[in-house]
């Protein structure tokens, strides 16, 4: 069984790898945005505190960006959510 930090590194790398086709700069932002919108604070804290080992370049860039306190704007439609009075988006699983 992998430890929590190994799981978190894998998750970050998986996101980065699948967004890589956007181009590196965009993928860094999109990965950061994704993690910002979907991860619980303790997961974020744990990976911020981890020494960036075992992270791909994109994942590392994203974690650095978030660790500096950034909250990126939505980079893909998946992280655009309805505003309070909107109903156009849904991400039902």
């Amino acid at each position: 069984m992998s430890s929590t930090i190994e799981t978190l590194r894998r998750m970050a790398n998986d996101i980065a790898r699948n967004l890589a086709s956007m181009g590196e700069r965009e993928a860094v932002l999109a990965t950061a945005d994704h993690i910002d919108k979907f991860w619980d604070p303790r997961m974020k804290q744990a990976i911020f505190a981890d020494g960036r080992t075992g992270l791909s370049d994109i994942a590392r860039g994203a974690i650095d960006h978030l660790a500096s306190g950034a909250h990126p704007e939505p980079q893909t439609r998946a992280t655009e959510f309805n505003a309070v009075n909107e109903s156009g988006h849904s991400d039902a699983g």
């Binding site: 069984m1 992998s2 929590t4 799981t7 998750m11 998986d14 996101i15 790898r17 699948n18 890589a20 086709s21 956007m22 994704h34 919108k37 979907f38 991860w39 619980d40 604070p41 303790r42 997961m43 909250h71 893909t76 439609r77 998946a78 655009e80 959510f81 309805n82 505003a83 309070v84 009075n85 909107e86 109903s87 156009g88 988006h89 849904s90 991400d91 039902a92 699983g93």
Partner: protein, 950 residues
């Protein structure tokens, strides 16, 4: 309310723009052209006698009971097969007709037992009713001659009997099986007097035949020949209540037919928009779990999981639980608490559980089983179309010309929709199946897939991109559609990407193992064959690239313009009855109901003002991360309503470690399920028959669930959640789920126009239902995509890290079968076990031979994660190198072997690909033995002699 059968118009409704006016018995009636005279008469309340006609199948014209006279026409034509004509003048009751009908009826009755008074169908028999209608009083022929009265009854099916002595050979059963169900299990054997209904070969009975026990023939039978055993046992119903099936995402509606407080039978409701009067074995018959002896009716608590359970009062259970929750919260903070909502429960119940977590526990640690099934659909369709909702209603399939089924097995997992699809295929629509297994659809009676792409598990994205490659490079893209509806620049980027030689079917054949020529032909057919509709299931989503595969599917629909009208679209076949609803209700840790992110201040303050609390602004934990956090000590208490995460989630030992690390696990369920082995509090749940509320099916259709009996445990599930909330001091005071609906509508724009009274009036509605769409929305993206332009997104194929190798050379993929439902907690507690009493491992003959395995042998299934044993079924349904099993039985625990790998975007587990080895074995593995012992210990209840058996 007295009992009445649903009205039968004799022949199916016809849709036509052209209307025809005629006169029947002096009364004028106007109906669509093509309607039968019989139906036209029924529309104005007429009642032409009939035996072989019924309105969910085409007229057959064999019984000659429905004769009428038509002015100017010769003879007495059968009204069921005669279409209306403008100006026609029809007489349905004349002395001549009465005499003819009596004669026909006399012949039927002369070969029919006259034990009406003691027959279980007495007063619910069309033969009896029609005999009375035509005024038959005595029969001139005796029973001396040859007759069928001595034939024996076939009682092999667990739910219905076939008593051939009562059969009038009207063929309704045969036609129901052919036309409605599409199984072709029945035939009329012999001719003339010797003709008889039979199930398959002469030596077959119903159980051993092809019959899938859908019940369509039983419903169609006008006599007591085919009849539910329950009617024989309990007697005829006295009242009925329309409600919605609690099994799968098709959302069939039924009449729950009651005698006193007892459920006699579930009869599919003809006005149900999802099922149109059809059903499958689960919804129709498998409700016996509701009264199963294993059902737990009293709350129970224990300090630790090695102690036996102690039955306590509701008050004690709730105050114990609330105190514990408050203690943990005080000590470890709100984020140590969380809950799992149920996709089996109603929208209202789900809404309350997430409200309890957010407003009561004070965290956003709420998740739902959609995480482990269709979360990639949410991500993928939202990325491309802007919204994840399935684009069509079920009716749409009847206008499809090419149907592409990817990673789904509708005839088993969504059977009623599967029957619809088969009907369309028999009408000539073309079929493409992309699946590692040769599912039943590929070849079944009167259906043959044009193309089956037996993809290597884990390579969906490669196959889908190669289909796109063919469409773009062969010039089959629908440029006009793309220019109008999509972002043209993005399209060009994407087109360049897919056109690359490395995405050609020839290049990818080595990876996907699908012959390039087959991919090319399938792509051409989908792109040029008329309306192309894609239906997909968990074989697409449950992969490390599940979200990318969904995006790739959406790309295919956009590039061919197959979106925004009936007959086309992208349709996720959702698993559980209310998985769509549980997502809509805010069950994900990052969003509130109506898909609004928790970090959005305005949204939070809307809820904060309504609920009178302050909400956490950060997303909470997803299920799998809850287990990690539990092991690390930061997550300590979990309330699970109506889900068995221990059995359904991947890597069982990881789940077990997480659950055992928690201080307080509250299971709210019907049975002591696998998760309850690790629980400290058990709160008894109620069944769908015991509560009011709503479910939302895979077409976004919100349908009422209605209480037909009192909750055996004392409280509906929404009441239990409310009691717990109040024990924690929240002061909720809902007295009926309709008030919860009002709250949902008040707080959620897509449901703004919903309320219980209105829903009861209209029967069902597809969301969004609000000011702009007061009647709901059957087809999405008609005028353009819900939010702006359709987006083409590049999907790079990235092989999963779970790879076959020398130690684990085979790939395991998992699925379900018709008679069982998911973890099987309900269906295993019904007679459905006659069709499936254990999980089997399907294996190709060559792989089996290499290992010295035969059908029926015990085999050990081992992966990098764990091992289990089960019996082998040798079959060429699976390709060499691939093995397949179901996950319905806890004894097998297929998830002991599945891994932690998951979809990159949503963490939906990769159930569909596990590298495994299979070796002969002579008994259960150590884990299975230990677990069986643990389960037995864990289920002890203090002071009861009888321990509930699994």
């Amino acid at each position: 309310m007295g009992y009445e059968r649903q009205a039968d118009f004799g022949t199916p409704e016809v849709k036509s723009d052209e209307m025809v006016t005629l006169t029947i018995d002096g009364r004028e009636v106007t109906v669509p052209a093509g309607t039968s005279v019989m139906r036209a008469a029924a529309e104005i309340g007429g009642d032409i006698p009939k035996l072989c006609a019924t309105d969910n199948m085409q007229a057959f014209g064999s019984c000659r009971m429905c004769l009428v006279e038509i002015e100017g026409a010769r003879g007495t034509p059968a009204s069921c097969t005669t279409p209306v004509m403008p100006g026609m003048k029809v007489q349905t009751q004349t002395p001549r007709l009465e005499k003819l009908r009596r004669g026909v009826m006399e012949l039927y009755i002369s070969d029919h037992p006259l034990d009406c008074l003691t027959c279980s169908a007495n007063n619910d028999c069309e033969l009896q009713e029609q005999a009375a209608n035509v005024g038959l009083r005595d029969v001139r022929y005796g029973y001396e001659g040859e007759n069928h009265l001595g034939l024996t009854t076939d009682v092999s099916n667990p739910y219905f009997d076939f008593d051939p002595s009562k059969c009038i050979v009207c063929s309704r059963c045969v036609r129901a099986c052919d036309e409605v169900q599409g199984t072709f299990a029945l035939a009329i054997d012999g001719r003339g007097f010797a003709s008889m209904v039979s199930a398959g070969q002469a030596e077959d009975n119903f159980l051993s035949s092809e019959c899938v026990s859908c019940g369509a023939c039983v419903q169609a039978c006008p006599t007591a020949t085919l009849q539910e055993k329950s009617v024989r046992a309990i007697g005829l119903p006295e009242r009925s209540v329309v409600t919605t099936c609690a099994y799968c995402g098709v959302g069939c509606t039924f009449r729950a037919e009651m005698r006193g407080e007892q459920l006699v039978r579930m009869v599919p409701w003809k006005d149900g928009k999802a099922n149109r009067g059809h059903s499958c074995v689960k919804g129709r018959f498998a409700y016996g779990y509701a009264n199963h002896q294993d059902r737990i009716l009293n709350p129970m608590i224990r300090e630790s999981i090695d102690q036996p359970w102690r039955e306590v009062s509701w008050e004690e259970a709730l105050s114990y639980t609330a105190n514990k929750l408050n203690e943990i919260k005080a000590k470890h903070g709100a984020r140590a608490l969380g809950g799992i909502t149920s996709s089996r429960c109603t929208n209202e119940e789900t809404f309350l559980v997430q409200k309890l977590v957010r407003a009561g526990f004070g965290s956003n640690n709420v998740d739902t089983c959609a995480r482990v099934c269709h979360s990639p659909t949410g991500y993928g369709l939202k990325t491309t179309f802007g919204t994840s909702a399935g684009t069509q209603d079920f009716d749409s399939v009847m206008e499809a010309d090419v149907i592409m089924v990817i990673g789904a097995n509708p005839t088993d997992a969504h059977p009623v929709f599967g029957s619809r699809m088969k009907r369309r295929l028999r009408q000539g629509a073309k079929l493409i199946v992309i699946d590692p297994r040769r599912i039943d659809l590929v070849r079944s009676p009167h259906i043959q897939a044009q193309h089956h792409l037996p993809v290597q598990p884990g390579t969906n994205v490669a196959v889908l991109t190669s289909l796109a490659h063919v469409i773009v490079t062969e010039g089959l893209a629908n440029e006009q559609f793309i220019r109008e509806r999509c972002d043209w620049d993005e399209y060009q980027d994407w087109a360049r990407f897919v056109s690359d030689e490395k995405h050609s079917p020839e290049f990818l054949e080595a990876v996907t193992r699908v012959p390039a020529q087959t991919v090319r032909e399938a792509a051409r057919l989908y792109a040029t064959g008329g309306n192309g509709a894609i239906y997909y299931g968990l074989g697409v989503t449950e992969h490390s690239q599940g979200s990318s595969a969904v995006i790739a599917i959406a790309n295919l629909a956009m590039v061919t313009g197959n979106i925004g009208r009936p007959g086309v679209g992208v349709n996720p076949l959702r698993g559980q009855n209310n998985v769509q609803g549980s997502c809509d209700m805010g069950s994900f840790p990052h969003e509130l109901s109506g898909y609004r992110h928790i970090s959005d201040e305005e949204t939070r303050s809307l809820f904060e003002n309504d609920w009178g609390v302050t909400l956490d602004k950060d997303p909470g934990l997803r299920i799998n991360n809850m287990f990690d956090a539990a092991v690390d000590g930061s997550f300590r208490a979990l309330y699970v309503q109506g889900e068995d995460i221990m059995q359904s989630d991947p890597n069982t030992q990881h789940v077990a470690a997480g659950l055992s690390a928690m201080e307080l696990v509250i299971v709210h369920d019907l049975f002591l399920n696998e998760t309850a082995n690790y629980a400290h509090v058990f709160l008894p749940g109620s069944t769908f028959l015991e509560k009011d509320g709503t479910f939302t099916n895979a077409e976004r259709r919100i349908q009422p669930v209605r209480q037909v009996m009192e909750p055996a445990n004392g409280y509906a599930d929404w009441e239990v959640t409310q009691l717990l909330a109040n024990a924690m001091g929240l002061g909720w005071n809902y007295t009926h789920p309709s008030q919860i609906i009002d709250e949902i509508a008040r707080l959620t724009p897509s449901f703004a126009g919903l309320n219980w009274e209105r829903l009861n009036e209209i029967g069902s509605v597809q969301w969004p239902v609000n000011e702009q769409n007061p009647e709901g929305s059957p087809v999405m993206h008609v005028e353009g995509f819900a939010s702006g332009k359709g987006k083409f997104v590049v999907t790079e194929y990235i092989p999963t890290d779970e790879k076959a190798g020398p130690r684990f050379p085979l790939l395991l993929t998992t699925g379900r079968i018709l008679s069982q439902y998911n973890v099987g907690a309900q269906t295993r507690r019904t007679d459905n076990v006659v069709w499936h009493d254990q999980d089997l491992l399907e294996m190709h003959p060559s792989d089996a031979e290499n290992r010295g395995l035969k059908t029926g042998d015990f085999a050990k299934l081992a992966s990098r994660t764990g091992e289990t044993t089960l019996r082998v079924l040798v079959t060429d349904r699976v390709a060499p190198g691939v093995v397949y099993t179901t996950f319905h039985h806890p004894g097998t625990q297929a998830n002991v072997v599945t891994t932690d790998f998951s979809d990159w975007a949503t963490n939906c587990p990769e159930y569909k690909v596990t590298a495994v080895q299979v070796t002969p074995s002579n008994g259960p593995t150590e884990w299975q033995r230990d677990y069986a012992e643990f389960t037995e210990r864990s289920r002890r209840i203090a002071g009861t002699e009888m321990e509930p058996a699994e």
